[in-house]
Symmetry: D2
C-alpha cells in the first residue's frame, strides 16, 4: 500500500500512520516531499485494512498496488482452470467453446422443452439451461415451476445426455437444486448475495456466476473469490451485459472487453450471454461471434420452442429454426478459426 498524506499533515500524523503500520507487521518507508509526504507500506494487507488507514488524521488517500482477489488471480495460478464433467465435457483452457441453451424458464410443457433439448443435442450443444426458480422484477410475473421444472430438466437430460444448468436463488433450495443440476447458476442480481455465494462455495458443483449489471471487474472477481474462499474453485464467470445509459436499442451493454481482461487477470473460464446482454434476438448471432473471437469459453443463449408463447424473455429467445441457423454459423466460425485457439490474442510487449 502507498499512503499519501495531506499537505497539511503534521509530524504527529505521519508518526501515527507509521506506528499503526508497524504494529501490524508492515515495513513503513517515509518519503517527505516538498508538497506531500508519501509512505510505502510493505506487508500483508489482510492484517490491516486500507480503509482503516484512510480514516487517520492527515491521510489523503491510500492506494493499493495488488488486486484484492487472490484465489481467482492469475498471479497465483498461471494455467487456465479447466472444469471437467462426468461425461468428459470440459470448459476452459484450450477446449472448444461450449454452448448452454434452453428456455429462460422451464414451463409446464415437457414436450416443448424436449424439442429444444433435442435440437440442442443435434447442434452439438453440451448443456441444457432452464430456470426453475426465476427472479422477476415485478411480483406479478411468472416466477418458475420449482421442483417440477427440475424434474423436467432431469428427464430431458436422461433423453438427450445434455448436462443441466439451472439457477439457485436462495440457500434454502441448495440441496434440492444440487440433486438435479450439473452446474448451478448464480444470477446477476445475486452476484453480491454473499450468503448465497458462501452456500455454493460449500457444495461441489461447478458454478456459473453472472456479472451484476453494475459490477466492476474487481467486484466480479471478488464475488468469485467468495465462492472459492469457501471451498469451491469450480467457478465459470459469465458476462451478461452491464447497465448503460441507452436502453432504446439494447437492454444492456454487453461488455465484450471483459472477456480478454478477465483472461489476463484470472485463470477462471468465462462465457458470454448475448440474450440477456442485448435483449434482442437479432443481436445474438453477431454478439456471440464477437464474444467467441475475443476468447470466450462458451456461449449461453435462450432458445424456446415457441417464443411467442414464452412465459418470460420471449423477445430475446431464438425459435428452434433460428437457433439452428445461428448455431450452425457459430459452429462454422469455431471450426474455421480453430487453429488459432492456442495462441489467441497474445501480444508480446516489446
Amino acid at each position: 500500500m502507498i499512503i499519501i498524506m495531506e499537505r497539511s499533515a503534521t509530524e504527529e500524523n505521519i508518526l501515527a500512520v507509521k506506528n499503526i503500520l508497524e504494529e501490524h507487521g508492515f515495513r513503513a518507508i517515509v518519503h517527505v516531499g516538498d508538497v506531500h509526504t508519501v509512505i510505502d507500506a510493505l506487508g500483508d494487507k489482510t492484517t490491516l485494512s486500507p480503509s482503516r488507514l484512510e480514516t487517520l488524521e492527515g491521510v489523503n488517500q491510500v492506494k493499493l498496488i495488488r488486486e484484492p482477489y487472490r484465489m481467482a488471480s492469475r498471479d497465483r495460478k498461471e494455467e487456465d482452470t479447466v472444469i471437467e464433467f462426468e461425461n468428459g465435457v470440459k470448459i476452459g483452457g484450450a477446449n472448444r467453446p461450449v454452448f448452454m441453451v434452453g428456455p429462460c424458464s422451464v414451463e409446464d410443457d415437457y414436450e416443448g422443452l424436449l424439442k429444444v433439448a433435442v435440437a440442442a443435442k443435434e447442434m452439438g450443444c453440451q448443456f441444457l439451461r432452464g430456470g426453475a426458480f426465476k427472479p422477476r422484477t415485478s411480483p406479478y410475473d411468472f416466477d418458475g415451476l420449482g421442483e417440477k421444472a427440475l424434474k423436467y430438466l432431469a428427464q430431458a437430460k436422461k433423453e438427450t445426455g445434455l448436462l443441466v444448468v439451472t439457477e439457485l436463488m436462495d440457500s434454502t433450495d441448495l440441496d434440492l437444486v444440487c440433486k438435479y443440476a450439473d452446474i448451478i447458476q448464480i444470477g446477476a442480481r445475486n452476484m453480491q448475495n454473499f450468503r448465497l455465494l458462501k452456500a455454493v462455495g460449500k457444495c461441489d458443483k461447478p458454478i456459473v456466476l453472472k456479472r451484476g449489471p453494475a459490477s466492476t471487474i474487481r467486484e466480479f472477481l471478488l464475488a468469485a473469490e467468495h465462492i472459492m474462499y469457501n471451498g469451491n474453485e469450480k467457478v465459470i464467470l459469465c458476462e451478461r451485459g452491464i447497465k448503460g445509459f441507452d436502453s432504446s436499442f439494447t437492454r444492456n451493454v454487453l461488455d465484450i472487453a471483459a472477456v480478454p481482461v478477465i483472461k489476463k487477470y484470472s485463470h477462471l473460464p468465462i462465457i458470454i450471454d448475448p440474450s440477456h446482454g442485448t435483449g434482442q434476438r437479432y443481436l445474438i448471432e453477431p454478439m456471440a461471434k464477437a464474444g467467441l473471437v475475443a476468447g470466450a469459453d462458451g456461449v449461453m443463449v435462450e432458445v424456446h420452442h415457441n417464443p411467442a408463447q414464452a412465459m418470460s424473455d420471449g423477445k430475446q429467445s431464438l425459435s428452434i429454426p433460428q437457433f439452428k441457423e445461428v448455431f450452425g454459423k457459430l459452429n462454422l466460425l469455431i471450426d474455421t478459426l480453430h487453429l488459432e485457439k492456442n495462441n489467441n490474442n497474445q501480444i508480446k510487449e516489446a
Copy 2:
C-alpha cells in the same frame, strides 16, 4: 398498452395481435397508418404480459401507459404512508424527519456502541443502526458479529430508548433478526434478492429497502411492490447513491432527485443515506441538508465512537464530536424550515 407494428407487418400479423389481445379480455383498437399500424389495447395487463406481445411477428414495440407497480403507487393511495412505532415515533407524511445513526458494523466493544447511542439520544435521534451481518465485497473483510451484535443493539436500546435498525442478509436469519430489530434493513446489493423480499413481506416489521446501485426508480418501486404484495405494506425506501462514471471524489452519485420523484409517484416514505451515497465524511452535512430540503423523511448516517479503529467504513463515518456538530446543524435546518413542511415543493401546473 400500445402495440406498434413494423412497417412490414402483414394483415395476418395484425390480426394475430388483435386475436391474442381479445382472447385475454382486452379491447383492441387498430389504427392503420401510412407508415405504421398502431393497436391500442385496453384491459388488464396482468392477464397478458407485454413481453409476450413483443415476440409476435410484425410487432415493433409495446409501450406501457401505466407504471407496473400498483400497491406502491400514489395512483392507488393518495395520502402519504406513515409508519408508527410502539413508542410513538412516526416516519413519513408531515412528521419531522427521523435520524437513524450508528456504526456500519456493531463491533465487539459494547461501551463504544453505547457512547454512540447516548450521543444519538442526546441529539434527538430516534433510531440506532448497526450491522450484525455485513455484506462485504471481499471475503477477507470482517462480516459481522451475528447474534452477539443483535444483543448489543438490544442492550443499547434498553439503556437509551432508541429503536433498532439492522440488516437482514438471508431469509434463514429472519426469526433471529425479528427478535431484536424494530426495522429490518434490506441492503442495496439485495434489493433484487426476491426470495428475501418475499420473506420480509411475510413478517410484520417495517422494512428499510435500500436502492440498488444500478436500479431505476421503476425497479426500486417494484422491489417495494414485492414486499407489499407478500403482505407487508410498511416499506421505507432509502436512496443511498447510484453507480456513476466518476469514483475519484465520491463512491456513488447520491440521486437527490429520487426523493421528489418518488414522492410524486408513490405514497411510501423515503429517507437518504449520505454516508454510503458519497463515501466521504465532509459530504455528509451538505448532502443530508440537500436531501432534507428536497423532501426526505429521514436521514441515515454512520457514526462511530472511533472511526480510525472502525472495522468497516471508517472513512465515511462521523466521530461523535463531528456527529454532534453536523446533527446540531441538521436539527437547526429542520427547525428553521419547519413551517414549510406542509406545502413543501408543490407546484401547481397552470
Copy 3:
C-alpha cells in the same frame, strides 16, 4: 405520435390537444379509456414538436413512433452506403473492411511517421491517420503541430499511396484541413459541436464521425443527420467506446453491439476504434476481431514507431512489430471468414 393524457385531464385539456394537433395538420384520434385517455396523432412531426405538446396542461407524456433521423435511416435508403475514393478504395457494403492506422498525433519526426506508413502499406492498410490538431483534456499537454503535421501526412501519402485521415477541431481550419485530408475526422468530444457538423456538411470530403462517450445511438445518428442535412452524405460512423462505471481496466466500454444495431437502423458504414475504446494495447487484437465479426466496415488503430516516446496515447498504441503481428491476424480473420460477408448476421424472423 401518441399523446397519453393524465388521469386528471379534463375534457378541455383533451380538446386543447386535439385542436393544436389539427391546426398543425395532424389527424387526431381520441380514445377515452377507463383510466387514461390516449390520442393518436397522425401527421408530420416536423410541423409540431412533441416537446411542445408535452407542455400542454393534462398531458402526461408523448411517445414517438418513428425515429427522428431520416436521411441516415435505413427506412429511407435500403441499400448500404458505399463511399469510394479516387484510388478505388471503398468503405461500406460488401467491401472488405478497411484499416486506418497511424500515430495519435503527428510529431516532429517525419522519418518515424514514414516508417509507420510504410509498414501500414505493407500490411494492406488503406488509410494513414494522424492528428495535426489534438483535443487535450489538460491545457498542459501537447496539442499538435498544425499545418506542419498536415504537410508530413501529405508527404507520406505521396510516398506510400495511403489516403489521409485527420481531425478537424474548429470550422476556421476547414479549408486548410480539406487541402490535405482525404477523410476529415470529427472527434468524440465534438460529436455535438453542431457548428462544426454544419461546416463539414458543406464540404465534399467524406467524414469519420466518432461517437461521443455519452451519446445514445439516437444522438449519434442525429449528429450524422446534421452533416447529411447540410449536404454531405458521405458519413462514416465510428464506435470508439462509451463512458462506463469501471475505468480500472479499460478507459471506455467499447460498445460492439452498436455495430449491428446501426447496421439495422442506418445505411451508413460504421468502423470501430479499439485503441480509444479500451486504452490498452493488449485489447486491440481481440476487440478488433470482435468488431469485425459483428459487421464493422473497418478498424482504426493507433500505431507509433516508438510508443515509449509518443507525445500522446503511447500506452494504447501498437509498436510497428506489434502492429504487424496483430494486423496479420486480422487479415487472416477477414480472409478466412470472407465468404460469410454477404449474408452476415441476418436472422429471419419466424
Copy 4:
C-alpha cells in the same frame, strides 16, 4: 508520481525508468518489494507526462498524487474567487446566491421576453439568460435567432437593468456575442471544445462553463483550466446534470454532491441548473433548494412567458406565475438560512 512496476520487470526495466525520470529532472527513489518494485518520482509533472512512463516496458501503472489542474485548484488560491460586475453584482464567496433566469431560446416575441425580464427583476434576480445560438440534437429543430436575439436581450437589459447571459457556440461569433453579453455561456456539449475554450480564455468576459453530461469532476476542472490558462480567470462552473441509466423520470442526474466537492478542491464559484438537470418542471423547486443548501453560488432556471408555445424546452420551463411562486420560496430559504452562509458545511476533521 508513483510508478508501479510489473512483477516480471527486469533490472534493466527499472533502470530505464529511473534514467528517464532523472533526465527530466525528477528525483527517483526505488523500493524493491517482494512482489512489485515501486518508484517514487519527485519533480515537476509538466516536464514528463505520466502516460509516457506507462508505455515503458515493465511498467504496470503510474499513479498521480497531485491533481492535474493548477490555476483552478484551491491548493493554489485558498480564498474563494468572487466575480464582480459593473453594477455591483457579485458571484461567489460569501455573497448571496444569484439567480439567472429566462427562456431557453430567445424567440421572435420581444414582449414575451420583456415580461419574463420584468418578473425576474421583481423577484430579485440579477441575470437574464436566453439563447441566441442554440445547440439542437436534431437538425430539424429551431436553432436560434442569432443577432436579433442578442439585440432583444440588450433591449431587455436596458429596460430592467438585468445582466445578460447567453451561449457562444463557435469562436467565429465571439466578437458579436461579447458585444451584447455580460456573461458568456459555454454549453455542456461544448465543454471539451478546446478551441472554443481557448477563444473565450482570451476575452475578458466572465464565463459560465457547463459540465459535460459524461464529464468527471477532474475533466470539468481541466476544462476551466483551459480557459484560465489562456488568460481569463473569471470562470463560473455550472452543474447541469450527468448522464444516468434511468431516463424515465428525469432527463439527467443532477449531481448535487459536485457542489461541495468542487468547493473543496477549487476556489471557483459554482451554480446549478435544475431545469436541464432534471428536465421536469416539478423538480425545479426541490432541486434548486437542494443545490442552495449544499453551497451553490447561484441557480439558473428556464422561465418562459408561455411554456406551451416555447420553441424549445417548454416542458422544463416555469411559467411566470410558477416562477414567482418557486422563487418566492427560494428567496425565503436563502433569507432564513442566511446566517449560516459563512460557516456552511465545514467539518473539522478530528
